[in-house]
Amino acid sequence: MEILEVKDLTKMYGSGDTQVTALDHVSFQVKKGEFVAIVGASGSGKSTLMNLIGGIDRPTSGDVIVDGKEIFAMSESALAIFRRRNIGIVYQFYNLIPNLTVDENIMLPCLLDNRKPDEQKLSKIVEMTGLSHRRDHLPGELSGGQQQRVSVGRALINDPAFILADEPTGNLDSKAGREIMELLLSANRKANQTLILITHDENIALQADRIITISDGRMIRDEVMRV
């Protein structure tokens, strides 16, 4: 069953002589529980693709269908609500709210929905991230690796259709990077969580079920690594 369908996605910036095609007719599908790595050189269009899949940016043409819903047919507000309930995003620079505690940062998508998550579920995620002893700490009091774990926890809190991770280990040392990958892989393998990961680290990409290569805005390869 396809959880994500990217259809003929094109994104252009600027106009006239300065027009740049960041993404050029990219199409692929992702199944539920699949781990897809998107690789490519710097400036190839990976981040543009991620922003479009996450509904943060709007395409020039094409569509993204998440769990059967065309996300760009939604209004901006409806898309924001859809995003917080169905898409988990992990950034390279964590992007945590500095004045919220670990618990609050993880709960943030639920809090924006004006609801508190199930305490058991929150505890399970906190435990999974290994931050049970730091639940009341602020991001500034945590190491980079710990902050990224909070970010992963936040992405998982609403049982999203998929997790979108943009270079999640790019700002971490190798040990912390490994720990984050273990956390993401654990969510993918144990909880059947769909994972789309953008990276330029070959070793990380090789752990994926599929590797999609982007170059100059075009999808030039889609390799299945394991079934």
Partner: protein, 662 residues
């Protein structure tokens, strides 16, 4: 606590200094609005106290007199508050823009971003507006206290002229004024916060993350200024920075400009008021004035259509002379008695009867006409002074003397010209009913010969000193300079009361009034009025200016923090800390200069236009308030320079490498 409210609360807590400055601006804004509204409420109570609930005959005029300044001052406060408070929220939103980006990425809607800024505003309002209203009541209370320091003096002076008047301004707590102040203050702050909130909610998540602390890169303008080694480097950099970052400093410059403009305008207004005071006051060389004025009614004669005056209780020349003699009886005081009749006659003249100067003035006013009708003022004097005038004019006792001087306002300058050419020795005078009289002119006094007692602000073109027999007038004045002023005044009051008993009735009821007052009393009343008006207007401008200065401090310190990285980069490539400080100081002077370039000319233009308008009515001497302009200039530059110096001090403590890495 709601998560959005929690964000707002944390932001306020985190940025303590700006929170304090913004809260202070909101408090001052609410305080000024409350003070103005409460003053209007107190003024309304005072006016209804002695005019009645509908303000009596001239109700609309009084209502507008109260309403127009209130609305004008409230509009100024609202405009200034919106600029300043909106800027504070814009800075807060700018700082949190990457946080908004994260929130949007994890699913916050536009409305939620909007709400988080509005919560910040509501949290600030919760404390600042009640505090402001309290402060406003305190200001109003203190202001009324200041008025009451002078009001008894004012009452004593005014009562000597208008017996029934008793000004009493008391502090009024009006629930309606409270609700109005609350609604306007809250509305102003909410509107001010709404502008940046709407802007922040419209920025895409990607732009929020991409630009970090700078929501709007279009604020930086490409300029033609090129940096070369020809001039001082710090100056060139500062000039380029001011030119390219103008949008960032826009609100600070605007707020400072408005403060400058208001200060100059108020100073000009004070100069104009003093000019009017000087014009109105005529030094007749006397210290006490006693007068009698009868109630009159202007009507139109049914046959001729000319204006005529009806007066139930005129004073005849014989009574006036009797009173003069009685007043002289007090320690042998010299009395100058005079009475004027402005309405009985009009002179029918031909152009040849007039001097060239007078013809020019009249043709400017109403064009050239073959027959000219001019208003006539008949003056009677007490016997002694009439004799003196006759002698001075070289005529026998009983003659008619022409005071050949016409005073007019020539585009703001007082000019004196002889109106009649004196080719004829007889004047044809017409009454309102059309009947004619011919009066012989027996003597003429020119402007330099006219006694100073007969020089007053409003005079008719044709002025005749006539023998007093058989003449009744609407009013009469007795001017004196007694040694014992108080004693004389008491004596004169008793004399006038014996002739014109008031019996506790006012002017309207009795049909006449008599007064005894000091010749300087008008000046004193004007002085008190000017002092009070100047005190309140300067206090108002000071407090409004303070809101502007708070904005300057807030904006400048924010801009310097925002530019910390840029300044660290400059230092990393070899610019010394002193050079950075120098560059920032030059920038501050340039920004202050920009505020002055707008504020000073606009303020001066307003003053000039006000003076022009007033000069159409009064030929006042007016000078630009240069001292106030100089003070404004120095203060504006000092505020900018001082704020930059203090804000830039924090830069010295920072580590260049750490700052660049951020």
């Amino acid at each position: 606590m709601n998560i959005l409210c929690s964000f707002a609360f944390h932001q306020l807590k985190r940025k303590k200094s700006r929170t304090i400055i913004t809260a202070a601006a909101i408090t001052l804004s609410a305080a000024l609005l409350t003070a103005v509204v409460n003053f209007a409420a107190s003024g309304n109570t005072m006016l209804s106290g002695f005019l009645g609930s509908d303000y009596g005959l001239y109700g609309n005029a009084y209502a507008f007199t109260l309403l127009i300044p209130t609305v004008f001052l409230a509009a100024l406060i609202i405009a200034m508050s919106i600029i300043v408070i909106s800027n504070a929220f814009r800075m807060s939103a700018n700082e949190r823009i990457s946080q908004f980006g994260t929130l949007k990425c994890v699913g916050a809607t536009k409305n939620q971003i909007y709400k988080t800024i509005m919560y910040e505003c509501i949290l600030l309002c919760t404390g600042a507006i009640p505090l402001g209203i309290l402060l406003g009541y305190f200001l109003s209370f203190a202001g009324i206290g200041v008025v009451n320091l002078y009001i008894e003096d004012l009452n004593v002076l005014v009562r000597s002229m208008m017996k029934q008047v008793n000004f009493h301004l008391s502090f009024v707590f009006s629930p309606a004024a409270l609700i109005i102040s609350l609604i306007i203050s809250l509305g102003t702050v909410l509107f001010a916060a709404m502008l940046p909130a709407r802007k922040a909610m419209g920025i895409s998540a990607l732009d929020c993350l991409r630009f970090g602390g700078e929501t709007d890169t279009s604020g930086y303008k490409r300029t033609k200024i090129r940096i070369d080694a020809k001039r001082n480097m710090e100056y060139q950099l500062a000039k380029k920075n001011v030119s390219s970052n103008r949008k960032q400093m826009h609100s600070a410059v605007t707020a400072l400009s408005i403060s400058i403009m208001l200060f100059v305008t108020m100073s000009g207004l004070k100069e104009i008021a003093e000019g009017i005071q000087n014009y109105i006051y005529q030094d007749h060389g006397c210290t006490v004035v006693a007068d009698y004025t009868a109630k009159f009614k202007n009507t139109i004669h049914p046959k001729t259509g000319r204006r005529q005056q009806e007066c139930a209780y005129p004073i005849d020349a014989q009574t006036a002379e009797e009173i003069t003699e009685k007043l002289k009886g007090y320690q042998d005081t010299d009395i100058y008695g005079s009475g004027q009749d402005y309405s009985t006659y009009a002179a029918i003249l031909t152009p040849q009867d007039l001097t060239e100067d007078m013809q020019k003035v009249l043709s400017r006013q109403s064009g050239k006409k073959p027959e000219i009708i001019l208003d006539v003022e008949r003056i009677i004097l007490d016997d002694k002074h009439y004799r003196e005038v006759c002698a001075q004019a070289g005529t026998d006792y009983g003659g008619t003397i022409l005071l050949n001087d016409y005073k007019y306002n020539d585009k703001g300058t007082e000019r004196h010209i002889p109106p009649l050419s004196m080719t004829a020795s007889t004047l044809k005078l017409e009454k309102a009913d059309g009947s004619l009289d011919h009066i012989n002119i027996d003597g003429v006094l020119t402007v330099s010969e006219i006694p100073k007692e007969l020089m007053y602000p409003n005079t008719n073109p044709i002025r005749l000193v006539v023998p007093s027999e058989g003449i009744s007038l609407r009013g009469y004045n007795w001017m004196a300079s007694p040694e014992d002023e108080e004693g004389f005044m008491e004596y004169a009051r008793a004399v006038l009361e014996s002739y014109f008993p008031q019996n506790g009735m006012d002017y309207e009821e009795a049909g006449y009034t008599s007064r005894v007052y000091g010749a300087q009393d008008f000046v004193k009343i004007m002085n008190i009025a000017i002092i009070l008006a100047a005190f309140f207007l300067y206090a108002f401008v000071f407090l409004l200016g303070l809101i502007g200065v708070l904005n300057v401090i807030s904006t400048v310190s924010f801009q310097i923090k925002l530019r910390a990285r840029e300044l660290a980069v400059l230092q990393s490539v070899g610019m010394s800390s002193e050079s950075v400080q120098k560059m920032l100081s030059i920038e501050s002077v340039l920004c202050g200069g920009k505020a002055l370039i707008f504020g000073l000319p606009v303020g001066m233009c307003i003053v000039f236009l006000m003076a022009r308008c007033v000069k159409m009515l009064f030929p006042i001497s007016f000078h630009m308030p240069w001292a106030a302009i100089a003070i404004t200039l120095i203060l504006s530059l000092l505020v900018m320079w001082g704020t930059v110096r203090i804000s830039a001090r924090a830069l010295k403590k920072q580590n260049i490498i750490e700052t660049i890495r951020i």
